[in-house]
């Protein structure tokens, strides 16, 4: 099971270390993690995605909740959650048509074009991890030079 966890934590040095250390010492893996300060500068929000069966996810939520620096920990239902990840692809351009083709592909996924060069182009794509993976598959034939991904940011829908 793929799980999205959202954590409201104290915005203090060392908290990210403690959270990631907990995953390591309890034998869990982090699939992706993103951290940013909230509207209240005393708190940060971490979004962590991980894999595990229901029991394992329940256990990691409890262990995170037990941490004194976590204010709130939730396992989000992905169907009731808005979650997005930012990715940047640097794609190879081998012939004259490639630039147009990549543009089309980026448009289809709602991506933005940056840094157009003679032999490479950059695509910024904000989407779900599944959509990013799908885009990646389609971009592969052109030749992917580099990829950077932020990990998921997520918030539960109101009323959900």
């Amino acid at each position: 099971m793929w799980a999205i966890l959202t954590l409201l934590v104290e915005n203090k040095p060392g908290i990210l270390f403690k959270v990631t250390h907990l995953f390591r010492s309890r034998n869990f893996n982090i699939d992706s993690i993103s951290v940013g300060v909230t509207d209240n500068p005393e708190y940060s929000r971490m979004t962590i995605t991980t894999y595990g069966d229901e029991k394992q996810v329940e256990q990691i939520v409890k262990q995170l909740d037990k941490m004194i620096d976590t204010i709130e920990v939730k396992h989000l239902d992905e169907h009731k959650t808005v979650y997005r990840e930012l990715s940047i692809f640097k794609i190879k351009l081998s012939n004259a048509n490639d630039s147009m083709e990549v543009n089309k592909l980026a448009n289809a996924y709602g991506g933005k074009i940056h840094d157009v060069r003679k032999d490479s182009i950059m695509v910024e794509l904000t989407a779900t991890p599944d959509q990013i993976r799908a885009f990646e598959e389609l971009a592969k034939p052109f030749g992917i030079i580099e990829v950077a991904r932020t990990g998921v940011a997520a918030l539960q829908r109101s009323g959900a």
């Binding site: 934590v9 907990l22 620096d69 204010i71």
Partner: protein, 565 residues
């Protein structure tokens, strides 16, 4: 008192600790904690000098378990700090309240690989309940106040306070807070009444119910409550090793500890039960072996203060989250309201008593005069019931579990989770500091005792007369037993030789050393030690070939215990 006062960080630390009621600190000075040490000259806190920082942590741990207030240990930066890590990890594994205060290199030097610098905050992270590193002196009063609160509330544990040297030295205007808030810390939850009700129904409808009392029962002092439930419902009680002595072991309904070296009758009844009320336990592998063999028909009611323990190692039928004493009180109240009290022995209780009787008669013991069972029963016979016993880690520890009956609840302590050799003796010193008026005995083995034997210096110089009851088989006995059992008697790295001579060792420290080679000598030695005003080592040579039995091999079920042949 919320008036601002100007003082150094070191002074603020001591003032704040005095406000917490600290009377003793176990420690060892060094370059980076000297400003704190200098403050001992200006306060009423007694400093107890150790010969190794690990022992300081174990002393604080022993003090904390007995007094239920955090014990305090001091160490310097770098190696001083890494030396107490084992002691901190031991306290964490056994949920013992502790405050460890380490010196650190000055703030500007942190991260520069300075002399005696270690990133103790990073190293200690997985083995502390919380860690602080104040970067300005004015943080110290709040750090101490919240540190003590965190250490002793909910599921207790060790808290590390790492103070850079310049933060100790600098002055600031200090406020000592009475009130504070920790947003992400909720140490206690109110037990859910509905769940308690369901637990009662389950216990009442069970044919073969049993109570499994863990260490949490002792931590929350739920002795009277445990006994009430057991007696009201006529349910036999087994304990985990850490829960040993949560229930008087001479009680007719007591079966003793279960586990790898549990009592035969306890393991047997545990595997036959159909419903268990598990109180303050984490279902450690050493306690329950593999539960799978019989858990399908076993209904588990789990009471614990720590929500993360519910379902961690064991799936439960009903969970009651909250302080176990509070939960048990609610349960008792409900039983009273329903006027439920069982008086007639049913077939299960009869079977339990028969089984207990059978094993009392039929467990084969070492035939010699100085067999472990006889030695420990002799100790029990002479020691007053209020005496506190600690143990080291090894065969003697398991023999203590099997043959030393705890009669007054909450008088038996051991390093059960981390299994730290060398724990018992310094912990006994800490225990004696907490309760100077009762005899304190460390049931020891030679392998384990030799790890912290230099605490004899502390016991003698600081006038803390504890008794080391040394079952000496000149061997790392438990390892030897595993080598005999699982490695076809290939004995590697276990022979300790007759080195040192523990009587002479004790005497060289100014302690009393007595060798006891017969039951008569042992009887006299214990009585002499109890009267002595100096620490005593009773060296009791025993048979190196004696095994601890019964034995549940690792990774197997309690039903498959190996018995003496």
């Amino acid at each position: 008192m919320n008036k601002m006062e100007t003082m150094t960080g070191a002074r603020a630390l001591m003032v704040a600790m005095e406000k917490e009621g600290v009377k003793e600190v176990f420690g060892l000075p060094g370059g980076a904690n000297l400003p704190m040490y200098d403050e001992f000259a200006r306060c009423d806190i007694r400093h107890i000098l150790v010969r190794h920082e690990q022992s300081a942590a174990h002393m604080a741990d022993g003090f904390g378990r007995v007094s239920r207030k955090p014990g305090v240990c001091f160490a310097t930066s770098g190696p001083g700090a890494t030396n107490i890590l084992t002691g901190i990890a031991t306290a964490q594994a056994d949920s013992s309240p502790m405050i460890a205060v380490t010196g650190q290199v000055p703030v500007a030097m942190i991260g520069k690989d300075a002399f005696q610098e270690s990133d103790i905050i990073g190293m200690a992270n997985p083995v502390v309940k919380y860690a602080f590193q104040p970067r300005t002196p004015d943080e110290i009063p709040r750090v101490v106040r919240t540190g003590f609160y965190i250490a002793e509330t909910g599921r207790p544990g060790p808290v590390l306070i790492d103070i850079p040297k310049d933060v100790q030295q600098k002055e600031a205007a200090m406020t000592f807070p009475d009130e504070f808030k920790i947003r992400g810390y909720h140490p206690w939850t109110d037990p859910d009444i509905v769940h308690v009700e369901r637990a009662i129904e389950m216990l009442l409808s069970a044919e073969r119910p049993i109570i499994l009392a863990g260490g949490g029962t002792i931590i929350s002092s739920a002795f009277a409550e445990l006994q009430s439930i057991s007696e009201l419902l006529m349910i036999p009680v087994v304990t985990t090793f850490k829960g040993k002595g949560a229930f008087p072991e001479n009680h007719p309904l007591s079966l003793g500890p279960i586990g790898m070296h549990g009592h035969a009758e306890a393991n047997k009844m545990m595997t036959e039960a159909d419903c268990v009320l598990a109180i303050g336990t984490r279902f450690s592998d050493r306690s329950v072996g593999t539960f799978e063999a019989f858990e399908k028909r076993l209904k588990i009611i789990h009471m614990d203060v720590d929500p993360a323990e519910i379902g961690k190692n064991q799936t439960t039928s009903v969970a009651v989250i909250g302080d176990v004493r509070t939960s048990l009180r609610i349960m008792i109240k409900m039983l009273m309201q329903k006027a439920i009290k069982r008086t007639e022995e049913n077939t299960w209780i009869k079977h339990v008593k028969e089984t207990k009787e059978y094993w009392k008669e039929n467990l084969k013991l070492h035939p010699g005069e100085m067999g472990a069972a006889k030695i420990l029963r002799k100790l029990r016979e002479i020691l007053p019931h209020e005496s506190i016993v600690t143990t080291e880690v090894g065969q003697h520890q398991m023999w203590a579990s099997l043959f030393y009956d705890v009669i007054q609840p909450g008088t038996f302590f051991s390093s059960t989770g981390l299994g730290t050799m060398g724990w018992g003796f310094p912990a006994a010193i800490g225990a004696k500091v907490a309760k100077p008026n009762v005899p304190v005995v460390d049931i020891a083995g030679d392998g384990s005792f030799s790890m912290t034997e230099n605490s004899l210096a502390t016991a003698v110089l600081e006038d803390i007369p504890v008794i080391v009851f040394l079952l000496n088989n000149f061997t790392l006995g438990m390892v030897a037993q595993w080598q005999r059992t699982f490695y076809n008697r290939r004995m590697i790295g276990v022979d300790q030789g007759k080195c040192p001579d523990y009587v002479k060792l004790a005497e060289s420290y100014g302690a009393q050393g007595i060798r006891a080679q017969s039951m008569d000598e042992l009887d006299k030695a214990i009585k002499t030690a109890l009267k002595s005003d100096v620490a005593t080592v009773i060296d009791i040579p025993i048979d190196p070939e004696e095994d601890v039995l019964p034995f549940v091999a690792p990774g197997t079920s309690l039903a498959d215990m190996i018995l003496p042949s």
